[in-house]
Structures are given as C-alpha cells and as structure tokens.
C-alpha cells in the first residue's frame, strides 16, 4: 500500500518491482525517524511498570489483575530456544515497555486533533489515511461516495492507537473497530468474555509477556449476520529507539459474519535490535469468516546483520462454531528475526482453515515461521501453502503442525511447502510435524527445495531482462499461489516487496 503508491504499475513484467529496487538502491526506504516528543515509562519491566501501563490506559481493576497474573507467570518461564534462529540474548530489562507521543496525553476527539507531524509520518509511509478522503471526513465522510475499495485504518504509533477512521460507517453496520484500550473502557463485557481465550496468558514466553505489558492494539467485533462493509486495516510502526512494541489484537466474528483484516508494517532504521512481541486472537463463530492478511516489511538489519527487528508473534484463530472459516495470508519480508506461527484451531464441525505464506529472507535475516492446524471437529479442512525464499546468508525455516484429533473424522489437510534458494550461502529448512490420530482423515504433505531454474532465467534474459529483473519475475511466479490469496491492495504491494527484498542477492 505504501511502496507502490509512488510507482507506476505497468502491465505484465514487474517493471515496477525493478523501479522500486532501483529507487531503494541499498537503503531501507522507511529508515527514518519522526521527531515527535515521546513519553517513556522507565526502562525495564516489573509490577510497577505493568501497573503504570494499565493506569495510563485507564483500565479497570480486573484488567490490571489479569496483567499482573500474566507477569507473575512470565517471571517463572524461560525463553524458548527450539526455533532455528540465533540472536544475542535479549535483556528484557533494557527495553522501554511503554512509549507514546507526548502530544497524545489527551486522546484526540477526531483526526484533526492528531499531531500533524504524526500524520506526516503516515504520509511518508504512504498510508492512505489522508488520501482516502474518508479520513478527512472523520466528520461526515459517509456523505462522500468513496471511490474504489474502502479501507478503515486503526493506526498504531508506537504504543498508542492514534486515530481510527471510518468509525461512523462501521458503526452504522454495528461493527466495533477501535483500539483495544478503548474497547476495555467501552466494551468491557466483550473484552472480558474473549480476551485470552484463544491465546491464554500462559501460552508461551512472548505471549505471556505481551499479556502483561501490551500497551495497545486493535479490537474488532462484527455482530451476527453482518458482512463488514470495508476491509479493516492496521498499520503498526515502531518509532522510538529501544521500544518494545506489544500490541494485542482481538477480532471477534459473531455468527454468520464476515470481515477481512489487513495488517502492514514498516519501521525506521535502527542500529540496536528492537523487540516486537504481538498477540493476535481471532474468534470465529458459527458460519462466520475471517480473512487476516499481513504484509510485514520491518527493518531487517543491514547487510552485516546489525540492527533490525526481532519479531516474536503469537497469532491464533479459533473456529468455535460449525462451518466457521479463517484464512491467514502473510508476506514476511522484513525483520532480522521472525518467529511466527499463525494457527487455526478447527473446533467446529465443517470448519476450514487456510494458511498462505511467503517468507523472504535476505542478507543475514532469519525466519522461522509456519502454521499449526489443529483439527478437532468432524469434516474439517485445512490447506497450507508456504513459499520460502532464501538469499544472501539468510536462514529460512518452515515449521508447522498438522494435528488430526481422534474425533476429527473425515477431515482433510493438504500442505505444500516450497523453498527457493538464491546463492550458495543461505539455508532453507522444513520442519513439519504431522500427527494423524484417526483413519478417515486424509493428510498430505509435500515439500520441495530447489534453486531458481536456470532455463527460466535464460528465457527471461533472452527477452532482454537483466538478471535482477529475471529473478524477480521468476520469484514472483514461484509465489503466485500466495499472492493471489491476498486482497488486491496488498497483492500489489507484496509483489513489489518480493522484488525489493531480494535486491542485491544476484550477480
């Protein structure tokens, strides 16, 4: 959504990706910092910090207690080491757990009251906050017929959700889309009922930490039978140095509803590594459907592996009702270290889970990502399509679980994991776990590892493309299955990102 806005898109060949590559010429496009006064809590984490975050968000006591119990638990568990990633030990007491732009001490009533510098930040990022017309029309945007597809944005600037657009139109449909802190304040019954039911505070080291210190995030509730009139979108952006960002996203799709949610992120250039530990929980009730798409292009660190984001995310969807459906699509091109396994719990009978992923690791990046499909209900279906691309000295791992419970009769899984290697210094790994505990279910798993096909490259070169263009084209073809699963806006951006991320990896 951002990278593509400034570049003309031509037909056919990825001319745009090539332009984008040139434009970047070795520098991270979004590597700048906005000078906005920040308000920090002291470094480190302890019960006081947890209380402080809670009080800054005006949370009720039950929420504070929830955080504190998570924190107590976190102090007694150890960081997981099973992933195929190496990074220096993280000093969890050397991180800011709370930072927000100072001008935001009072929350803005409308976007007009938002710090103009902040809005300028988004403009640089190309977030369609402004251009989308409706943004300007926080008051009365619904009168203007929106052109093309509409996207509602809940922007998170470091830790505090800054402004939410499209509120009114969403309100009309009965959809609640706000920051999680607002939801705790205004819809405590919903938050209380659902928060932590998909990813319990005890889930894993990073999820537990997030439960204790999450500062903000997004909340979506789609009431029964409602088809959300627009795609919902959140832009995360880490801005202040040494700030861990701990968002919490909670999406509830009530019976028979539908929502498509987009998440995209960029982060400015930093020398010291930054930590990001988010939790996303999705509840899908009977006959409901949720699509969750991510384009992640956080700062990956420089060519020698200095800096970059540590991305340790827990994402899980729970298909509670029959015929519930969830679809994860992700394009992971950024971050120095990625540790992310968006999962589906297929509890309802006939429920469906899908996972489409492109993970690109270049230079010194390390990605350990995949999915879990837990089949509990009868006649449940899941599909996994994972495309991993390694270049430079990067390590890319697919790690996944497909589990067929004894009661998940007549279920079906199909998994395809393909890895592509560009250069002889990188690594591509596949670690699938397959657990089949009944015989009426069919599970199929396929994985391949190969290099960019010489014949295809030769063909492209013969048509006058340079090597980088040719590789970008072949790689985009390799990723096609996943790119097609993305919503339109994201597909364009993702295609460009694929090429940008591989820049400098050939020749």
């Amino acid at each position: 959504m951002n990278a593509m806005d400034t570049v003309e898109v031509k037909e056919g060949v990825d001319q745009e990706t090539v332009d984008a590559v040139k434009e970047l010429s070795g520098n991270y496009k979004y590597g700048w910092e906005t000078e906005i006064e920040m308000e920090y809590a002291p470094k480190g984490v302890n019960t006081d910090i947890v209380r402080l975050i809670s009080s800054k968000n005006n949370e009720p006591e039950w929420m504070t207690d929830w955080r504190l119990s998570a924190f107590a638990r976190w102090e007694n568990i150890e960081e997981p080491t099973w992933a195929m990633v190496n990074y220096p030990d993280i000093d969890f007491q050397d991180i800011y757990y709370y930072a927000r732009p100072k001008s935001m001490e009072e929350k803005p009533k409308s976007l007009d009251e938002v710090d103009p510098k902040l809005l300028a930040t988004y403009e640089k990022l190309g977030i369609p906050l402004k251009e989308q017309m409706i943004l300007a029309g926080v008051e009365g945007a619904e009168d203007v017929p929106a052109e093309g597809r509409k996207v509602a944005v809940d922007a998170v600037f470091d830790s505090v959700s800054v402004g939410t657009t499209f509120q009114k139109e969403l309100e009309k449909a009965g959809v609640i889309f706000c920051s999680i802190s607002e939801a705790i304040e205004k819809h405590p019954e919903l938050v209380k009922k659902y928060l932590g039911t998909v990813v319990p505070p005890s889930d894993n080291f990073y999820a537990t930490l997030n439960s204790a210190v999450f500062s903000d995030g997004s909340f979506v509730y789609v009431p029964p039978g409602v088809r959300c009139p627009m795609e919902l979108s959140t832009y995360f952006r880490i801005n202040a140095e040494n700030t861990g960002q701990f968002e919490r996203t909670l999406i509830i799709a009530d019976k028979g509803s539908y929502v498509s949610y987009l998440e995209g992120c960029t982060a400015p250039k930093r020398d010291t590594a930054q930590l990001h530990a988010a939790v996303v929980e999705i509840i899908v009730e009977e006959d409901a459907e949720v699509k969750y798409s991510t384009v992640q292009n956080w700062y990956p660190g420089d060519e020698d592996g200095n800096g970059g984001i540590y991305n340790f995310v827990t994402k899980r969807a729970d298909c509670r009702g029959d015929r519930a459906k969830v679809m994860w699509t992700q394009v992971e091109t950024g971050s120095a270290v990625t540790w992310k396994y968006p999962s589906c719990i297929l509890r309802g009978n006939d429920s469906q889970g899908e996972f489409y992923s492109i993970a690109i690791a270049n230079n010194m990046q390390q990605a350990d990502t995949g999915t879990k499909m837990v089949h509990l209900g009868k006649n449940t279906k899941s599909r996994i399509v994972s495309k991993g691309i390694s270049a430079g000295k990067a390590q890319n791992t697919y790690r996944g679980l497909v589990s067929m419970h004894p009661k998940a009769k007549d279920s079906r899984n199909y998994t395809q994991c393909d890895s592509l290697l560009i250069g002889d210094k990188c690594g591509a790994h596949t670690v699938p776990y397959i657990e089949v505990r009944n015989n009426s279910s069919r599970v199929e798993h396929e994985a391949t590892t190969s290099k960019v096909d010489d014949d295809q490259l030769f063909y492209c070169r013969q048509r006058g493309m340079d090597e980088e263009e040719a590789v970008a084209l072949v790689v985009n073809g390799f990723c096609k299955d996943v790119l097609q699963a993305l919503p339109m806006e994201f597909a364009m951006e993702a295609q460009a990102l694929v090429a940008i991320s591989l820049e400098g990896s050939v020749g």
């Binding site: 397959i434 009944n438 279910s441």
Partner: protein
C-alpha cells in the same frame, strides 16, 4: 548446563551398578569415552524433543521388562539363500550353532576377540562413527551401547563377497537384556550383504557401524522378529565414500516398541544411499519408530528414504526423517517419502519429515501421507469379483511394495513378501 532432574534421575538409575567391560587398552578407552558421552548427555526422557513421539522409559529402565517367548511356526527366513549364519542367543554368540567365521573376500571375528586384541582395525571404527553421529542430535542410547557392548561381530570385506552374512538373533530367556555391537568395513571396490533376523531378546540394544570406502557397496536387509513382545532400540551409523552404495531395508512385524535410528554421512562424491522400511503393526501395544538422519557432505550424491507403515487396532507408527545438505554439497538429489495406511479409527501415525539445506543447486523433496484404504480401489477390485479380504490384502501389499522394491536381491524380497502375506492373512 545441568541436566534436568528427570534426566539425571533416569541416567543415574540406569547406570548404577554397571561397570565397563574390560579389554585391550584402546577398547577400554573407547568404552570410557562413550560412557563420558552418556554422562554428559544424560539418557533420553519422554520430554526430549527427539523422543516427542516415542516414550523411551522402558528402554532406559534399569531392568528389562519380561517378554514372552514366541514359537515361530514358519521356517527360518532366507533359507532359500546360501548364506553364512552367525547365531546369537539372547545377545551371546553361539559358536556351535554358527557357521565357521570365514569366507572368501572377507574376514570375520567376534567383537569380544577384536576388543581384546592390542592391534586391530576395529580401533578406528568402534564408537568412532557413533561419536560423530552425536551431532547435531544427541543419541545417548547409542553411546550407552558403545560403552557396554561385549558381543557382536566385526566384518571386513576386501572383495566381492558372494554369500550374504546372516546374523540370527534368537530369544530364549523371557527377561534377557541384550547389547550387541557390530562393525562392518567395506574396503574400496568391495561388496557385502548383511542380513539380520530374529527377535534377539526381551530388550535389545543393537548398534551397527559401517564404513563404505570409495566404490564399495553395502547391502543390508533386516527382518525384526514376528509377533513377539520385544522392546528394541537399534542404531546404524554409516560413513559413505565416493561412488559407493549403501542400501538398507528393514521389515518390522509387531514387537512392542521398536526404535530404529539410521544415521548416514555421505562424504564422497557420487555416492548413493537408500534407507527403506516397511512395518506392519497390530494392537495398542505396538509402537514403531523410524528415525533417519542423512547428511550430504559431498557433490552429486543421491539419497532416498522410503518408509511405509500399516497400522491397525490402535497401533502407532512414527517417522522422523531428516535430510541435511551441507554447504557445498551441490547437485544433491534427496528424496524422502513416509506413508501410513491406517486400517481402523484407533491407529495413529506421527511424522516429522525434515529438510535442512545449505546449498542452492539441489533437488530435495519429501512427501508424507496418511489415510485409510482407498475406497475406490477397493470397489474396483470387488467389482471384478475379488473377495473384500483379499482385496484389502492386495491393496495393502501394493502399498508396501514401494519400500520392498528397495531390496536389490529379488530372492530376499520374495521371501519377505511371503512373510508379509502370511502376517496379513493372520491379522485380517
């Protein structure tokens, strides 16, 4: 790092009262080294990632659980083949029942004798491949075998050996706890076939270390007992030289718990390594685990892993396979397939087929499937007048065929196919 308490307790309980066997100085040193490895790693517990799907408790318990003797009503396996028989009863060499340890192009000795000799080629192999195989995944039970084994054979093939060598493991004591360690050294250009048959003991720890020099060929066909209650952990460590061939096939009938680990290291260019296995299991006690780790550290090599499991009445099948392609091991052709046929609702198949690849010009793939007998195929056969039971047997044999095809010697393959048919007939 201190071992977790559970691991420390398990290790201590198992090792208490054990003393290392005595032999020549080099043998004592090799055993002491192995014991050091055991102490450093600790014995596996069910909380270890590598034992996620198989509970090692009965394998690490101080004493072996009782296993009833099974009276086989079939004749000995591979009787149609002229072979050199070496018999072990509950893990102890039986000279009377065995043939003369001699043959053309081959030198065979009892492990106990080799380990007592001051100078012996076994020195360069015993525990050496096992120690190398401890990276990157620890295999403490193999180290324990190296430390404690007193019996077994050491085989040196210097030419093309005509007769297969058949190690026959008999089980006569319901509480026997056998530890065997075999070494095979295939010299450049030499060729040998090793057969292993029989239940061996109530609890059986067996290790095979194989070195195949350039241009050599090693064929290995193994049938693990039948309808017995044995618990076994076996390891095969092999180092494979240039343009050489390594082929191993294992057929497992029942048994309570079987864990077969195969660790291959391909160090010479243009080598071929195949590991295959078929297993048929009936009943909730049956647990069969194939764990394979193939390392490619040379150019233009081929590896295959073909594993098929037929499971019924609550049986469990496990497959953990890995292909590791090291940096520079270009033109690697690696393929891995693990499939299970679940004949009823209670059986389960747990698989972890892994790839770890650090070279770009490779073609590596794996596939894994699990499911019931194909109803359409069954219907087709029935519509041709085939009885349902017979149709199921046919389809089951067809399912296992891909693994059996990995046996080059057709006479041996046919013998195993007959046994399989018999088993399926008894268990239908």
């Amino acid at each position: 790092m201190a071992l977790a308490k559970m691991k420390a307790d398990t290790t201590e309980a198992r090792l208490s009262g054990l003393s290392l066997p005595e032999g020549a100085a080099w043998a004592n040193a090799a055993r002491a080294d192995a014991m050091d490895r055991v102490c450093r790693m600790g014995l596996p517990t069910k909380r270890d990632e590598y034992w996620k799907y198989t509970d090692p408790t009965t394998l690490t318990a101080p004493d072996a659980a009782e296993a009833a003797l099974f009276h086989n009503d079939e004749g000995p396996l591979f009787d149609a083949v002229d072979r050199l028989k070496i018999v072990f009863v509950d893990g102890v060499f039986d000279a009377e029942a065995s043939d003369d340890l001699a043959g053309e192009g081959i030198e065979i000795a009892r492990l106990a004798d080799a380990m007592s000799a001051d100078i012996h080629w076994a020195k360069d192999l015993y525990g050496v491949l096992e120690a190398r195989g401890q990276q990157p995944v620890e295999r403490p039970l193999a180290a324990l075998n190296t430390a404690m084994a007193t019996d077994g054979v050491v085989i040196q093939a210097t030419g093309k050996v005509g007769k297969p060598i058949n190690l026959i493991y008999l089980h006569k004591d319901v509480r026997s706890d056998a530890v065997l360690h075999n070494l095979v050294k295939v010299e450049a250009g030499a060729e040998v076939t090793l057969l292993e048959t029989g239940p061996a003991a109530a609890r059986f720890s067996k290790q095979l270390e194989v070195e195949v020099a350039d241009g050599g060929a090693f064929h290995h066909v193994r049938a693990q007992g039948r309808d017995h209650e044995r618990r076994a952990v076996t390891h095969c460590f092999a180092r494979i030289g240039a343009a050489s061939t390594f082929k191993s096939f294992t057929l497992t009938f029942n048994g309570v718990l079987t864990r077969n680990e195969c660790v291959l290291e391909i160090i010479g260019d243009e080598a071929v390594a195949h590991v295959a296995g078929a297993c048929v299991g009936d009943g909730g006690d049956f647990h069969h685990d194939d764990t394979v780790f193939i390392t490619h550290d040379a150019v233009n090599c081929e590896s295959r892993q073909v594993f098929k499991k037929v499971l019924r009445n609550g049986a469990t099948g496990v497959f953990q396979g890995k292909i590791l392609v090291k940096e520079g091991a270009q033109k690697t052709d690696g393929y891995q397939i693990s499939q299970s046929l679940l004949l009823d609702e209670d059986s389960q198949f747990l698989a972890k087929p892994e790839l770890e690849i650090y070279a770009d010009d490779v073609a590596c793939s794996h596939g894994s499937t699990s499911g019931a007998i194909d109803e359409d195929a069954l219907f087709y056969l029935r519509s041709r007048g085939v009885h349902p039971d017979e149709a199921r047997t046919l389809l089951t044999l067809a399912f296992l065929a891909e693994a059996l095809e990995e046996i080059d010697n057709e006479v041996l393959a046919e013998d195993l196919r007959d046994r399989l048919e018999g088993w399926l007939a008894r268990h239908s």
